[in-house]
Amino acid sequence: MNTNAPDFEVTPGLNFENVVYQEGKKVYNLAYRLCGNSEEAKDIVQETFMKAYENFHRFQGKSQVFTYLYRITFNIWKNRIRYKNRHPIFSLQHNGPEEKAFDPPDPAPPPDKILETEEKSSLVKKCLESLDPAERLIIVMRDIEGKSYEEITRVLNCRLGTVKSRLARARGRLREILSPHLKILK
């Protein structure tokens, strides 16, 4: 890693290249957990760092870098959803390998069935898809990544009470979806 890249020296002690190497994977995972598609996640990450680079002179180190990047990632993803909703793609038939309609979890699996790791991941992915954008981000940050409520409020730029109520709503929604599986999970 080149720590002496003058191109990326934007703030004393804060090197953009280092930021990419340190935070790139985290940002990618956030994007992937939000959109559920690895190729789209890469596009989102690219866009995130482009935007971050453009505005890096405004980032004065008052908050943590990842908060700044997470906020950009979330906004980019939200805008993509809005755009897709307004402009559905026209095609006679599209056999895209990662484009699948929402497939609700299987009803009541056998009581003695133990969920394998991949099944669990698939279940989590489906559950996340059922949440609205803000709820999805909160669940990812809180329950998957273990971030604090404060960090979530900074990313979403909202009040603590809003985060609490959205988190509760998201958890309630997940309880409904996962109720057939909860015996196994416990």
Partner: protein, 299 residues
Amino acid sequence: MNKNFCKNQEVLSAYLDGMLPEERKSRVKGHVESCPECSQIIREMEAIRRLLAEYPEKDPGVGFETAVLNQVKERGLPVSFRNWSRRISYSLGGLALFLIILVLVQRPSIQPPLEKDKSLELSRMVTAEKENSTLPATKPEISDKSVVLPGEVYPDQKSVKLKTEKQEVKQPELASETAVKKETARGGIALKSTDGPAIHPAPQNIVIRNKKDWEGIWLTQNLTLPLPKVDFRKQMVIAVPSIQNGQEYQVIKTEEKENLTIVYYQVIPLNKDTAQTILPPYQIKIVNTQPIVEFQQVK
């Protein structure tokens, strides 16, 4: 039972995360221990939280960060300089763009990209009757092999390059009603007729295998929709003209076989008396990539 928070998901969720004030926390704790429904909710939330916490990280792949940095560098975005110098740069950029547009407007009219763009792969039906054929402004070259220029090359994609051989444009002939001339080549296009009466002149079908050509043909569609995403490592785009040679062509279906895709289409003669439908120039179909594509007319 305390009605304020019994079965209240928001309170129980905050309690689970230790986000309640101390006084309230002890009251809720006391209640949860005695209320079967609330303790059930807490247990379920805990189970869900455990499930979510186990969700593994995904690896973006080797060299991901380097690729991101390279993209940022290529863009050469200005970073830490003052607002006024950015304004000047943007103004100069705007002025340059304005001059370019001005120059373009002054030039003679530009032909549609498709006719001049020889990088598109064209199929040619040689049995078409001369008077029914509508040749593009620039005569396409007919060869036994189709023209395919290398598109964007992905690490796992074998680039397809074929040589073009200039040949004379032959006049189409119909030896019999079922006469057919077959053109098949790797990456090329074959045509086979079905059993039946007259053979209609085949449309100028196109197979697209790279993003540049895809963008080009999408422009001709005159739609305000965004370019559909195609992964050219695994997919290709079939484009069949909607109307040509006084006929309307309609894609019925596509069939995949080993190393071969067959596109079935039918012909609908245009009738002056029927209402005209405004169609985009091409019917587009995105399919899995195959080296050979055949176009078959059906009844």
